[in-house]
């Protein structure tokens, strides 16, 4: 049997510990070992952004990151975006602007957008485009997604 390593980290604000297989990437670790199914597999090559999660607040492609690299760090996924039953402003804006059709790229889009807004609360349209530049969408189209992110930025009350 392959070696397995314990990994302790924070997932959406809660302490978590799970065993990672040798060489297991963060995407498979979160999905299979931890049970958070919100990051998606699209390419496994860092090309599509569907697996984007935040590690210590910065967007990372979880398919290209080793699970053990999050030891002691803070991981955020879409599963932790809402505050209880209250959707995050980004989620509200995505719903309002029809910014998801099939919904498969949406978790990655939302996390890339959250990283941007956490850093730059009032981004320009170009900054939004830059922030989701690594996230592919095949059905919704980018315009409603960009509109939604800008709308969320405008609506959000300053922290």
């Amino acid at each position: 049997m392959m070696a397995r390593k314990p990994v302790t980290f924070t997932l959406n604000g809660s302490e978590r510990a799970a065993f990672a297989a040798d060489g297991q990437n963060l995407l498979q670790f979160l999905r299979q070992e931890v049970g958070d199914m919100t990051p998606k597999f699209g390419c496994g090559q860092g090309g599509c952004g569907a697996c984007t999660v935040l590690v210590d607040g910065a967007p990372h492609l979880s398919c290209l990151m080793l699970a053990e690299a999050v030891q002691g760090r803070r991981v955020e996924t879409v599963a932790g975006l809402a505050r209880g039953a209250t959707p995050h402003p980004l989620q509200e804006a995505f719903m309002e602007h029809f910014a998801a059709q099939c919904g498969y790229c949406t978790p990655g889009m939302l996390m890339a957008a959250k990283a941007l807004l956490d850093r730059t609360p009032r981004p320009t349209r170009d900054e939004v485009i830059e922030a989701i530049g690594g996230n592919l969408c095949r059905c919704t189209g980018y315009a409603p997604i960009i509109d939604a992110i800008l709308a969320a930025a405008n609506r959000r009350t300053p922290a």
């Binding site: 699209g42 599509c48 599963a79 719903m95 998801a100 099939c102 498969y104």
Partner: protein, 571 residues
């Protein structure tokens, strides 16, 4: 300016059309933004196994030998499947609609007909171990000449791509080697035309490229059933296909789907479900079979490439007097949905224009390329590209504004179409007028005054006094492939085989069902699982009959109906 015409579905729509311009929330959007929408892969299974396929590196080759012994000894490998493990290792998707001959193996046994065709499926503890073991599957190939161009594939001596269709063309209803449309007399019109405008148009294959790759997970369930989570776009289509391929009643299969991470047509082929379920049957464990991104792009069936030749007879004033089409639809190595794409294409001719003489020959052609399948308007978008490019070319030839040329030739209400149906609810004239306005194109007063509601009918509603017909493309000796008769699809004779004299000797793959492994609990008829009312009277429980002695045709008493898919049949 915009007027909504509501002859069709009038009582199914509100009159106010108040939704236009409003923001509407999708009913599934909350699941999407919270990441809770259940895609097929969003389920955890204890002891999940992973399936990956060994694939042909050749466009076309005979399989001499498949040696899985080394792969079976690789770490983590639970089982290696080959075609022999598949209860019915020959299928065509539209057999569920009683259309076409079974032509495609689930796992190739005797030969491969495209690069990337699966020959073995490795089941292992992890995806990485399955990948390693795939590299250890040894397949001895004897390369065959291949053909990658549809017109080359129709030339004498071209390699035979798919043994079931030895002329490299799909055979419609066991009788016709292409789809044709004859209306009026194009040759007479060419003789009196002021301009003859010819063009050749080529579309590329296009990959659907969903962000979620195609896949399925199957697991043993209670009551001797199997559950299958799948990203299919056609849940019951995939269910029927799996039941047929696995030779088991569909009541033993529990399919869960409906949440699709982008499809665009590429998720109807039901490639993954039968293999995942077979894996679960033979290992007793949950099995996942999914394409990685490379496979999605390389072996995922794309929109088929189309080649169109158009020839128009045009009068000096821009009226199109005749239009002749020759089309080649590149099905790739197997039929999948291309036979149907060609029917759609021919049904779309000659485009939205009233042309009194139309002639079309459209061929569904096999080549050693990846099989093609559905994609967003397949069969229509390709020929539309050709038609609209050609309209511009015609406009140039007669020195006319291309928008005005379209308005001049557009269907008006009451016109007779080349399919001998009256044009109704036409709107191309109005669309052209709006487009010209938005694009800042100044139209002539006549074009501005034109309307779809005036100028049609009358002379334009009349069928041609003479239609030139011919028997080109009629073939003999092919089975209709009808499953309604329960004879199985008998292999067709090698008609026109003299045209393929250089091809290597062929062995026709067996179309007889093999014993299932593990055997079904009770003898099961090889019934197509989507048995419809139409063929219920053919005897759903009739045992498989020897193809050499077909049973008496079942008596049908209903009205004779014609369908473009299944031809004439009684209800």
């Amino acid at each position: 300016m915009i007027e909504f015409r509501k002859e069709f579905f009038a009582d199914e729509r509100d009159d106010d059309l108040a939704t236009i311009g409003q923001r509407v929330r999708r009913q599934d959007i909350l699941g999407h933004v919270t990441g809770r929408s259940p895609f097929y892969d969003d389920h955890r299974f204890e002891g999940l196994l992973h399936i990956r396929c060994a694939r042909s590196p050749h466009h076309h080759a005979r399989i001499r030998r498949i040696d899985t012994a080394a792969a079976e000894r690789m770490p983590g490998v639970v089982r290696v499947l080959t075609g022999r493990d598949v209860p019915r290792n020959l299928n065509t998707l539209l057999s569920l609609l009683d259309f076409g001959l079974d032509d495609e193996p689930i796992l190739a046994e005797t030969k491969v007909a495209y690069r990337g065709e699966p020959v073995a499926a490795v089941i292992a503890e992890t995806e990485a171990l399955a990948r390693d073991a795939v590299a250890a599957v040894r397949v001895e190939y004897e390369e065959l000449p291949h053909v990658l161009d549809p017109e080359e594939a129709l030339k004498p001596g071209a390699p035979v791509v798919c043994d079931v269709y030895p002329t490299n063309r799909f055979i419609y209803h066991g009788k016709y080697d292409h789809q044709k449309l004859r209306y009026g007399d194009v040759e007479a019109a060419f003789a009196r035309a002021d301009h003859i405008v010819e063009g050749r148009y080529q579309m590329s294959p296009i990959e659907q490229a969903p962000i979620e790759t195609c896949g399925a997970i199957a697991a043993p369930e209670v009551n001797d059933r199997y559950v299958c989570f799948t990203g299919t776009q056609g849940l019951f289509f995939s269910l029927g296909t799996a039941a047929k391929v696995l030779q088991m009643p569909s009541s033993r299969l529990h399919f869960v789907g409906g949440t699709v991470g982008g499809g665009f047509g590429g998720k109807v082929d039901s490639v993954h479900e039968p293999i995942a379920i077979l894996g679960a049957m033979l290992t007793g464990r949950p099995c996942k079979f999914a394409w990685d991104r490379e496979e999605e792009m390389q072996v995922g069936a794309p929109r088929g490439a189309e080649r169109w030749y158009l020839k128009d007879a045009v009068a000096r004033d821009g009226r199109i007097l005749a239009r002749k089409f020759t089309g080649y639809f590149d099905a790739g190595a197997y039929t999948r949905l291309s036979s149907y794409a060609v029917i759609k294409a021919v049904g779309h001719l000659p485009g939205p224009y009233t042309i009194p003489n139309v002639h079309a020959d459209v061929h569904c052609v096999y080549t050693n390329r990846t099989p093609s399948t559905a994609m967003r308007g397949f069969g229509i978008t390709g020929v539309d590209f050709a038609i609209e490019c050609h309209m511009d070319k015609v406009a140039e030839a007669v020195g006319m504004n291309p928008v005005e040329l379209r308005i001049l030739n557009a269907y008006r209400d009451g016109d007779m179409k080349a399919h001998r149906r009256e044009a109704k609810n036409c709107a191309l004239v109005e669309c052209c007028q709006v487009v010209a306005e938005k694009a800042g194109v100044t139209l002539s007063p006549e074009a501005r005054a034109a309307s779809s509601r005036t100028g049609g009918g009358g002379e334009r509603a009349r069928l041609p006094a003479f239609t030139r017909t011919d028997q080109d493309g009629r073939v003999e000796g092919f089975d209709t492939g009808s499953y309604a008769r329960k004879t199985g699809s008998a292999p067709p004779p090698r008609s026109e085989s003299t045209r393929h004299t250089t091809a290597a000797p062929q062995t026709t793959p067996s179309s007889q069902p093999r014993p299932a492994a593990p055997p079904p609990r009770a003898p099961q008829p090889p019934a197509p699982p989507l048995a419809s009312g139409q063929r219920a009277d053919a005897g759903g429980s009739m045992p498989p009959a020897d193809a050499a002695s077909p049973p008496a045709a079942p008596r049908r008493t209903g009205a004779l109906r014609f369908s473009s898919l299944s031809g004439f049949r009684r209800r």
